[in-house]
């Protein structure tokens, strides 16, 4: 009889400096308090990676976590989180990916792998059930994602292994390099690949032959069947099955929030040419799926004709598709597929890469950047040659590519211009949704614990624009109306808690949250059937809240305050010019006030109140941050921040 159900019950520590590995038992109280996956990583990161750690030093720790449902037949339980302090943002770094890697890690018998120190020689790690081996990786240096993956498969001689690998961009120190599983399933954001490469590790190869048991098999099976039925009968089933996330591009365009030419407009005149519909009709040859997914929504495409004839691969997802079309003013779908394929092979985060290029294009257009500075490239909107050349140069940190290789914020600092035009929050470049047309999403960007990104909250319900939903969920009709402000603090904190739970169970947000398949009530039932841990829906939500607060505390310790919860000036001051969101700006202050109130955070500083942390069982965090025992506004100033919140609130980006 295993001690754990659902969980593997084991944690693997790999100390690269000493070339030693250690297996520990999963701490039961961590499972109960933080569930797994992202929560487990964030908790351990808070405890073990202190304020003074340089993200690219041996002291940073890189953690891979699976969740309690991974490796079962629970639909979409296929994901893993990889976390460390981010070399791109300097705060909490974290990225999540699907595919088949997480399940393999679970079958090998691990809930979490913690990689510490730095190897003296280039290595890749091979986890073969109980055997963990640091294998010579010198012959893999410089190989792209595909080449390295194939070389490792041949060397180990087993095509069933699952591999998470970094590309040359990571090895060259680009600060937004990702970690790639199944060739095209990247944990791409916040530079986790850069951290992995800095430790001398090219890849994690895993083979697992074990099994996962659940606490109540009968109950679990019944819940799985319920979930399956709901997925199959959902209105979003066929559109997702056919187009995956690429179905969003035409919707975003119709609603006027499709970021076009660096967020200058919310409407792209070539939207149809680069749409998910066109991909489905003319390019896609097959559906592919992550482990145990019953939708499945991934697609395999082939380009048949034109300059890039014969190009093939998996994907793309909406963010990358939008990033290399509308965002850079490119109406050529083939070119976008080529750009995305290059990012995949070189191991770059497509979103940050496209923001850097798109930002440079705007500077160029305004005359803030000369052709000379851009290595002679004509940075006009949609110029394919310039786009592909820059991707290559960035990956090699060569010429102007070197300027862009640390993200848009660092590029603006280095050039000494264009900071106001960088579309980032806390150093993480924004995604493909204009917050002026989606207020809740925008608030989510402002407060997200990994910087400007939607996946911490993704209040997808806003796309319904249906006031009845807001009334029924939050008692505020405007909460689910995309252009309204009221109720967004409540909406976003609810969805942040929910996303933290989803990410920690390591199921798919697209299905479980966007399609509303796994609300807290059902999550509690599934968790109990899988693990035997009994929790009320409220307690499950509290796990999410605990994770969000702890991540905030990690960032507060790094110096983050309310000043940093701020969107770029363009959104706050320039109204959208055309389309269905015409005339909208983004007024963040009232929403932020409401959000801090909902969260129980100090509205002047943005720091969680002691009472809030203690209620969540995080008293030691409140102590470490030196939070006062009385109400906010007392004389004692918290240790973790200096002077912010006194008087007028000034935005970090203005």
């Amino acid at each position: 009889m295993p001690r754990f159900y659902g969980y593997a019950g084991r944690i693997l520590r790999i100390d690269l400096t000493r070339e030693r590995t250690k297996v520990q038992e999963l701490e039961g109280d961590l499972a109960r308090g933080f569930l797994g996956g992202r929560g487990l990583n964030s908790k351990r990161l808070y405890e073990e990676v202190s304020r003074h750690v340089d993200p690219l030093s041996p002291e940073n720790k890189l953690m891979f976590s699976t969740g309690p449902l991974v490796g079962t037949m629970f639909p979409t339980a296929s994901r893993f989180n990889v976390s460390a302090k981010s070399p791109l943002t300097g705060i909490l770094g974290d990225s999540n990916a699907g595919g088949h890697f997480a399940a393999e890690l679970k079958f090998a018998g691990y809930d979490q792998v913690i990689i510490e120190g730095r190897s003296r020689r280039p290595v890749y790690i091979f986890i073969d059930d109980d055997e963990v081996e640091l294998r010579d990786g010198s012959h893999l240096s410089g190989k792209d994602v595909y080449e390295a993956d194939e070389a490792i498969r041949r060397e180990i001689g087993d095509r069933r292994i699952q591999i998470a690998v970094v590309g040359p961009a990571a090895e060259n120190g680009v600060r937004y390099a990702g970690i790639y599983a199944n060739l095209m399933r990247p944990a791409a954001r916040t530079g986790m690949g850069t951290v992995m490469a800095s430790k001398g590790v090219k890849a994690l190869a895993v083979r697992g032959t074990g099994s996962v048991e659940v606490a109540d098999p009968g109950r679990f099976e019944k819940l799985v069947e319920e979930v399956e039925d709901e997925i199959y009968s959902h209105e979003q089933y066929w559109p997702r099955r056919r187009m995956g996330t690429t179905r969003i591009l035409m919707m975003a365009n119709a609603m006027g929030f499709l970021p076009t030419r660096h967020y200058r407009s919310g409407v792209f005149e070539h939207a149809w040419e680069v749409s998910g519909e066109r991909l489905a009709d003319e390019y896609n040859v097959k559906t592919r799926g992550c482990f145990a997914c019953t939708i499945p929504c991934s697609r395999f495409y082939v380009v048949r004709g034109g300059r890039f004839s014969g190009l093939y691969g998996e994907g793309p997802e909406y963010e990358a598709q939008g990033a290399f079309t509308a965002r850079v003013g490119n109406g050529d779908l083939d070119l976008a597929l080529k750009a995305i394929d290059m990012c995949n092979r070189l191991g770059l985060d497509a979103l940050t890469t496209s923001e850097c290029i798109s930002w440079a294009m705007e500077l160029y257009e305004r005359g803030f950047l000369t052709r000379e500075e851009a290595d002679g490239l004509e940075l006009s909107w949609g110029n394919g040659e310039a786009i592909l050349t820059l991707i290559e140069k960035i990956s090699r940190r060569e010429g102007f590519g070197d300027v862009l290789a640390d993200g848009s914020r660092a590029a603006a600092e280095r050039l000494g211009r264009g900071m106001e035009l960088t579309m980032q929050v806390k150093g993480l470049d924004l995604i493909m949704a204009d917050p002026r047309g989606l207020k809740g999403f925008g608030l989510g960007f402002a407060v997200a614990s990994r910087g400007g990104d939607h996946l911490r909250s993704e209040p997808f319900i806003e796309l319904s624009d249906d006031p009845r939903r807001g009334e029924e969920m939050f008692g505020i009709p405007e909460a689910t109306m995309r252009l309204a402000y009221r109720g967004k603090g409540r909406l976003v904190s609810y969805f942040e808690d929910w996303c933290a739970v989803i990410d920690s169970l390591e199921v798919c947000k697209n299905i479980m949250e966007n399609m509303e398949i796994l609300p807290f009530e059902r999550a509690a039932e599934v968790l109990e059937a899988a693990t035997g841990m009994r929790m009320s829906p409220e307690e499950v939500r509290r796990c999410g809240e605990r994770i969000v607060n702890l991540e905030r505390a990690f960032n507060v310790r790094e110096g983050i305050t309310r000043r940093d919860d701020c969107l770029p000036r363009r959104f706050r001051e320039e109204p959208l010019t055309g389309g269905a969101s015409k005339g909208s700006i983004f007024e963040q202050e009232p929403m932020l006030e409401e959000y801090y109130r909902e969260r129980g955070w100090n509205s002047e500083t943005g720091i969680p109140e002691r009472g809030t942390l203690e209620r969540l069982g995080l008293k030691h965090v409140a102590d470490e941050l030196g939070l006062p025992r009385e109400n906010p506004g007392s004389e004692r100033e918290p240790k973790a921040f200096k002077g912010a919140g006194r008087g007028r609130i000034v935005c970090a980006t203005s």
Binding site: G71, T72, M73, A103, V212, G289, C290, C293, V302, E314
Partner: protein, 155 residues
């Protein structure tokens, strides 16, 4: 005879069948204990489930030194647990690599769930079917070549 069939162009490689199979036969989740195994080539977007094809002539049964493998009236393999020594000869003999060694060091293989294959019922994309056919002897490599040609993939 009724057999399991696969349409390679429809298999998404999600491996839900592996989970369904191991759970229904063993009460837990493990690809190693599943009677169906999806092989994958991510480079070419290729996924292909492997399982016992109920071949007319069965090399594993023929080669078993202990004569422990026989046939049921439905055509599925049957193991005489007593007679089986766990030597693994059958695994190497199967041209479809459809047998595995299970927990008791004895071979495991598809038993068609007694005539209602659960993998077919639960496959999310309808890639698997259970129908009356003469034979099904497609090799994965043949399917891969066929699809690559059809899709215009030149590697």
């Amino acid at each position: 005879m009724k057999r399991l069939l696969v349409r390679a162009e429809s298999c998404a490689g999600c491996r839900f069948c592996e989970m369904v199979c191991s759970f229904s036969h063993e009460g837990r989740f493990s690809p190693s204990l599943s009677r169906i195994t999806v092989i994958k080539e991510d480079r070419f977007g290729f996924d292909y489930p492997i399982f016992c094809r109920l071949c007319e002539s069965c090399p594993p049964a023929d080669s078993c030194p202990s004569r422990a493998l026989g046939r049921s009236p439905e055509g599925t393999l049957m193991l005489d647990e007593e007679a089986c020594s766990g030597c693994g000869t059958c695994l190497k003999a199967c041209p479809h690599t459809a047998l595995k060694i299970g927990e008791a060091s004895k071979p495991i293989f598809c038993d068609l769930c007694g005539g209602r294959p659960r993998c077919v019922e639960r496959c999310p994309t309808g890639a698997l079917s259970y129908e009356e056919v003469e034979e099904f002897d497609e090799k994965p490599i043949e399917a891969l070549k066929r699809l690559m040609e059809r899709w215009g993939i030149h590697a």
